[in-house]
């Protein structure tokens, strides 16, 4: 992927436009994310990926759940849906099935997608539903004040684990892999180029695609654990990350201060839900099978 380059004559004009702005609802800026939060960084990467994939933006829809990352839908200048907690994926499923021409991106947080939304995640992966799921994992429930999430590593202090988390944390890439996702990658908000590249790859890949992005939550996670601010988290990501493409996802668990395995772990071809549906129906019904026209054109 070529990094997007902007050629402008001689000098930057007096009122320059940040290339990310056409992708944002500028009438809703400034956003609500804290100083040093990485969600905005992931949005930059997503913007680059959309630009480079030359996607028809009228056909891209973003579906979010509830949480800090869930607010992405509200800021994206696309057909966007801010749904209920944990249910972005089933909403996105219905949206995609009604109009398969849409590129449906689910953009949500770790708690939303894997606690309350966990059941929906595994079934959509199982079905290989053609959805692109971007999970910003800040290891906490940030919006509500930093409670323990299924991803919060052991020993971390949180609002609901004031004496330290003791539950084992989910390994999201392993979960996605085991559930059948066609594409599984993990990056951090330090890895902006690689993240943008991965996002571009999933925009061009059929099937259930999952990217986990580790991101700082300075206000709650970092502060409560005396881990500094967002920049300290970013430096930690830089220092502790090891790129291991193709690593067995079971070996990619995260701990409080240990190594962060990043990279693309799974990239396989499986028939997606539509292909399976069509194949089974035509085998059973032959000529009698009517192509689904779910979207009612005149109604």
């Amino acid at each position: 992927m070529n990094p997007s380059t902007l050629e402008i004559p001689c000098e930057i004009p007096a009122e320059p436009q940040n290339p990310v702005e056409p992708f944002l609802r500028m009438d809703r800026m400034p956003h609500i994310w804290c100083p040093g939060c990485g969600i905005g960084t992931t949005v930059n990467c997503f913007t680059r990926a959309l630009l480079d994939s030359k996607a028809n933006l009228d056909k891209v829809a973003v579906v979010s759940g509830i949480g800090c990352t869930g607010r992405v839908a509200g800021y994206a200048n696309l057909d966007s849906f801010h749904t209920t907690h944990g249910r972005a994926i089933p909403f996105a499923t219905g949206l995609k099935l009604a109009n398969p021409e849409l590129q449906v991106v689910v953009y949500s947080g770790d708690g939303d997608l894997f606690a309350i939304g966990g059941n929906h995640f595994i079934h959509a992966a199982r079905r290989n539903m053609d959805l692109k799921v971007i999970c910003v994992n800040n290891l906490t429930y940030a919006m509500t004040g930093g409670q323990t999430a299924p991803t919060t590593p052991a020993e971390i202090i949180s609002a609901t684990s004031p004496y330290g988390v003791f539950e084992p944390a989910f390994n999201l890439v392993q979960l996605a892999d085991a559930a059948g996702a066609a594409y599984v990658a993990r990056w951090t908000t330090y890895h902006v180029k690689q993240l943008a590249r991965s996002m571009g790859e999933i925009l061009n890949k059929k099937g259930f695609c999952f990217i986990e992005v580790l991101s700082p939550c300075p206000t709650l996670y970092q502060r409560r654990n005396k881990m500094g601010d967002g920049l300290d988290a970013m430096k930690f990501y830089k220092q502790a990350s090891k790129v291991r493409h193709g690593a067995p996802t079971g070996e990619c668990g995260l701990t409080k201060a240990g190594e962060i395995v990043v990279g693309k772990f799974v990239d396989r071809d499986r028939p997606d839900y539509f292909e399976l549906l069509r194949s089974q129906m035509t085998a059973s019904l032959g000529e009698r099978y009517a192509e689904p026209e779910v979207m009612c054109s005149e109604c």
Binding site: D27, A61, P90, T93, G94, K96, A98, L285, A290, C296
Partner: protein, 385 residues
């Protein structure tokens, strides 16, 4: 607009209410359903799963009712007419998403084939104990439309009405069947497609940039849109302004949430759907709905034979409650008798609308079977005293 013939099984059928409801969805133009198995509703989606691949659409059995109730809304915003089907326990699970549909003004249909409750209750036996829940089950202030068929024929007809109303008012519609109506087999006549009126989705005529997804027309209902057409619209469950942007302040809350209720007001008045008989000389009016109205019909006959001037007010649109009609009647009858397969739900609405101008007598039944007509006759006779 008339029904698309692809979905209309024209003819004279001998089918049960669940099956008739499914045919109603197809005739209404539904081409997407998401569901989860739950007795006594499952046949609706089983039939849909069997019919839709040759009609042209999709059924997906989701992993739970939470998923089903929001998948249909995703499909609606993708441009489909969509519905889901459930019974008590699943209805409870769907409550958050009914509220989401109301808040985002997503036209869709929820079918509840009511069974004995609470909790697991009586999976295979009838009740009408979800009526209040249909109206109030989700949190916050919002309104819905609820329709109560009392026969397999009405399961067909009112399903179409339900879809039409949901498009007209941009609101989720509850089809409140019960196990008896759902599992009773009767003659169902499905006419030719060109004799079935279907309300088209009120897509906006405005161009992108000039369109606001939550800006109401004069009838207080906003136009609709679907994803993929360049409108770059935003839908959120947060309190939002006319643009659909979160606007969490007192003024927006008042304006937007009030409108969710105000837009449905015609249904409590001129647009209420009901069946009235023998009201002109009535001294006692039996107010009933669903399967109980069939028993009530018999009870009214028996009461008349015993000299009581009993009249029938059969509620078909239960929510918004047809309060103007009850209020008008209350001024000129002695009493309302309200038999229900529950321990008193719609009777409270009747009492509220009657404003003390007539007695209101419940004939409650905890569910599991239908009333014995004599129980209703007894109440009618006593009310007339």
């Amino acid at each position: 607009m008339h029904a698309d013939p692809k979905g209309v099984l024209t003819g004279v059928h001998f089918i049960d209410g669940d099956h008739a409801c499914c045919e109603g969805t197809l005739a209404a133009g539904a081409r997407f359903a998401a569901g989860y198995p739950i007795t006594p509703s499952t046949e609706v989606v089983e039939r849909f799963a069997s019919r839709i691949p040759t009609v042209g659409g999709i059924f997906i059995q989701m992993e739970d009712e939470l998923a089903a109730s929001i998948a249909i809304q995703g499909a609606v915003w993708g441009g489909a007419k969509a519905f889901t089907v459930t019974s008590g326990p699943g209805f409870s699970l769907m409550m958050e998403h009914i509220g989401y549909a109301a808040m985002t003004e997503t036209p869709c249909v929820f079918v509840n084939v009511q069974r004995g409750g609470p909790s697991t209750g009586l999976p295979t036996l009838p009740a009408q104990a979800d009526m209040m829940q249909a109206r109030w089950g989700s949190h916050g202030d919002y309104g819905i439309i609820a329709l109560c068929p009392n026969s397999p024929q009405e399961c067909f007809d009112l399903t179409i009405t339900g879809f039409n109303l949901s498009e007209e008012f941009r609101v989720p519609v509850m089809l409140m069947l019960d196990e008896c109506v759902g599992h009773m087999t009767e003659k169902v006549v499905i006419p030719e497609a060109d004799r079935i009126a279907v309300t088209p989705r009120r897509y906006t005529q405005r161009v992108p940039g000039d369109f606001r997804l939550f800006e109401p027309r004069a009838d207080l209902v906003p136009d609709m849109v679907r994803a993929g057409e360049g409108y770059r619209f935003h839908v959120t469950g947060l309190t939002h302004d006319e643009r659909g942007y979160p606007s969490m302040n007192v003024d927006t809350q008042d304006r937007s949430v009030r409108r969710l209720l105000d837009k449905l007001k015609p249904l409590s008045d001129s647009r209420a759907i009901f069946e009235a008989e023998n009201l002109d000389d009535a001294e006692v009016v039996v107010v009933s709905y669903g399967i109980t109205s069939r028993v009530a019909q018999r009870a009214i006959q028996l009461a008349r034979a015993r000299g009581v001037r009993a009249g029938k007010f059969r509620i078909i649109s239960a929510w918004p409650f047809p309060e103007r009609h009850i209020r008008d009647l209350a001024g000129r009858v002695k009493a309302f008798v309200v038999p229900e397969l529950n321990l008193g739900q719609m009777v409270h609405e009747v009492a509220r609308a009657a404003e003390g101008k007539a007695k209101v007598i419940p004939v409650s039944h905890a569910g599991g079977s239908v009333h014995n007509p004599e129980a209703i006759v007894k109440a009618i006779v006593e009310a007339a005293r």
